[in-house]
Symmetry: C2
Subunit: 476 residues, 2 copies
């Protein structure tokens, strides 16, 4: 493996797709298996997911939600109850037809999402306004039968959390949908250092069965967008279909208002494509499994390894720290730690010991910083924060530099050819315009941003009156 | 729901199976769904699983293991590679035959366990003794197509962790198999307060494809045993079949030595059946989602609710504490908290406030303890420990009282009729005797205990020379 680590990876500007594949495999995030379209998430990749999960789970619980676990398999008749929902998902579900040697009387699909299971359960347990709200979440695997797959970004199976809530009023469901989108945006920006645009999906792009869908959209290094989390207001559609009714405060039966929202392992793909560079991963300190790697210099010399281990031991309660004391050459170790995106490399050699100092090297900028022994702990803490903020600022700058306004389809197409990015353009609201833009450019309506803005009063496609600004982009 | 809570549950000695069903539903651990044999794990049940998982995950990581995630679906050809393994699992797997509208060229099964996926991956990443050991674990759902199911105890789908490791030597694999069984035993005894017998499975009962299987066995209230965790030494069988070979220290290619080990949501069923009583659940404080429930008495009187909330706030950093300030009557709240097995009920009313005290009530014994305000925190901490130890001691006493020796099949059958329990009896080692005992009594060989013992020198079935003592029991 070490041999592979220092092999050059593809230059990201030469072939971004190949660069991505090189990084996910050589940084040992994933491996392939004989299962088409699925990935093995290796220890380093899974540790990143565990850190993201812990941060998000804390927010989910802090806001009063409870975790549950629903069955993996859904009977076909149950999935078919909600018309829009089945239409959206039927083409992409995996069907179980046999249990052992026995053919099943009814096919079961592997959950592509669990709205119908939650709906059935909620019908059982909700009777009165006193039973509301119900604020449930589950961490689970789901399967969607995708034709073309790429690690993290689009896989047959992925890991996610899916929240499903029931409320007394429309206002409460609205507030919940907004709150959860806000939490996803916060996890992206604060924890993963990925700037996002918050907005609403068009009717065409909304979730199958939803009243409306909110989304956060981020911009990758190659100018393509990535949907990074969605929060749906389901209205009373599922409730009416499944009969989830309650006696309200005036003693009348009425359907509940529902939401659902999901965040997936896909975000790891976004993190790679937002922060990575030609040396490999660049991990945000907040979720890096190893925040500091100690590389001893001239480690055969007396006292070096002892000093390195002593340092590790003194720091391990305040930072996630490892030491590479293998017999590889330091240069080799530097390359490995860069490939793995470890935020800080700490070098310590005989001269450093003599001078009572160490050298800290930032992964994101390559900057080297000499730090006196008594300041190491404090300096590492502040440096981790600086790196976290700095890679966020860099990603935000990239997004700003790659967000352009188009007033007509000439502008629009030119900007797509010139590096892509987000295109802000007015839209009349007609799905035909949206369809034709996609047909002609492959760009889709990413969202109608919450921060309203009007760059003109004419639809970028048809020129008719337009009030809504849309972020358009080619997307993963 | 509250109404259901105070309905009487079935008496456990009258109908233990119905008592169990009543408890899992009325304590709101699970709900049923339209998915045959699967269960919905509700918030209270899932919180218990999260606490068990956290305790076990900590031990798994402390001993150097890393978490990974493998695909859910296994191609039929991959599953079939290991002969014993496929024979063991084929009758009970769910088969996916269609993706969307398309019939698959090769069927995929939903993992019943993941040995073959780990084997395939290990072959890719292990080349030299320097790559060893590999100590991987995954937290996942698995599916086994069971005919008869019961919540937690036997379900089509269950949650578990499965560890899969590779080692240089047989000795290391032996040590790992033993270590992991020890960790399972520790989680059962220290965290779940369930006493276990550690031992080895007979050839008939071992895992499909293993060299040998270690197990921990516990005894339920009704005298039936429950396999509570297993640790398998796989030897070099999978390694030879899958070609997981490495260059050893003398430069020769050799297969790795492997282990696998698993611990499941089944243990929640054991916890219920070991500690529960006619009022419902009795939860070990170490994993109770709510360790203390405050029930205000005469809460409409001035100052009562304020005092209750102030108490909750002052205790919430040191204990998992809730308050029931609903408008139900205190007796109702007492019943609910007993049904849910909350270890300590804390009563506070006007008189208590006047006397600067509260009343603590133990769920396990019903004992009431007056505690002065300044001692509450300390007393709760010590009481939680006392309860944890006390329910363990009670369960151990039950096991001791229900473990008997049989010298012949007359004894054996009589003891099974007389309440069951563990039967310690000598066995000659012949599978025919083991088969016939099962056929005649439905009792199976639970394990050959690590603590060797000889109660006679003749096989309880055939009377021939016998050196091994076996724990026999009817089992879940």
């Amino acid at each position: 493996m070490s041999k592979q680590m220092v092999e050059k990876i593809t230059n990201m500007d030469a072939d971004f797709a190949q660069w991505y594949t090189d990084v996910v495999t050589k940084a040992e995030l994933i491996d392939y298996s004989s299962v088409r379209g699925s990935m093995i998430i290796r220890p380093y990749g899974y540790a990143i997911w565990e850190n993201i999960k812990a941060a998000l789970d804390e927010e989910i619980k802090r806001t009063g939600h409870e975790n549950v676990y629903m069955p993996l398999l859904i009977p076909e008749s149950l999935l078919q109850k909600e018309k829009d929902h089945i239409e959206g998902f039927a083409p992409e579900v995996a069907w179980v037809t046999h249990g052992g040697d026995e053919k099943l009387a009814e096919r079961l699909c592997i959950r592509p999402t669990s709205e119908v299971l939650f709906a059935e359960h909620y019908k059982n347990i909700i009777h009165s306004y006193r039973d509301l709200p119900k604020l449930y979440n589950q961490w689970a695997n789901v399967v969607r039968w995708e034709k073309t797959t790429r690690p993290f970004l689009r896989t047959l199976e992925f890991l996610w959390q899916e929240g499903h809530t029931c409320h007394e009023t429309e206002e409460e469901a609205d507030a919940e949908t907004t709150q959860m989108l806000g939490i996803y945006a916060d996890i992206c920006e604060r924890v993963l250092a990925i700037p996002v645009v918050k907005g609403r999906k068009t009717e065409k792009e909304k979730f199958a069965g939803a009243k409306y869908t909110y989304t956060i959209e981020s911009l990758m290094h190659d100018g393509k967008a990535l949907q990074s989390g969605t929060s749906h207001n389901l209205g009373t559609g599922f409730a009416e279909t499944f009969g989830i009714e309650f006696l309200n405060r005036t003693g009348k039966l009425q359907p509940v208002h529902q939401t659902s929202w999901g965040f997936t392992t896909r975000i790891i793909g976004a993190m790679i494509m937002v922060h990575g560079d030609d040396k490999g991963l660049v991990l945000p300190p907040a979720i890096a499994p190893i925040q500091v790697l100690i590389v001893p210099i001239a480690q055969h010399k007396e006292g070096v390894l002892d000093a390195a281990y002593a340092l590790r031991n003194s720091l391990k309660t305040s930072v996630r720290i490892n030491i590479d004391a293998s017999d590889k050459k330091p240069g080799w170790k530097f390359n490995e730690s860069e490939m793995k995106g470890i935020p800080i490399r700490l070098e310590i050699g005989p001269k450093d010991i003599e001078n009572q100092q160490v050298v800290l090297v930032r992964r994101d900028t390559g900057e080297k910083i000499c730090v006196q022994n008594h300041e190491i702990d404090k300096r590492i803490q502040s440096l981790l924060q600086e790196i976290q903020q700095s890679i966020f600022a860099k990603a935000l700058e990239h997004r700003v530099n790659n967000t352009n306004v188009a007033f007509n389809m000439g502008d629009f197409k030119e900007q797509l050819l010139d590096g892509g990015g987000f295109i802000k353009a007015m839209w009349c609201g007609a799905q035909t315009c949206e369809d034709l833009i996609k047909e002609q450019t492959q760009a889709t309506a990413r969202c109608i941003p919450f921060e309203e803005e009007a760059v003109s009063d004419a639809c970028v496609y048809c020129g008719k009156a337009a009030e809504e600004l849309v972020y358009w982009a080619k997307a993963y």
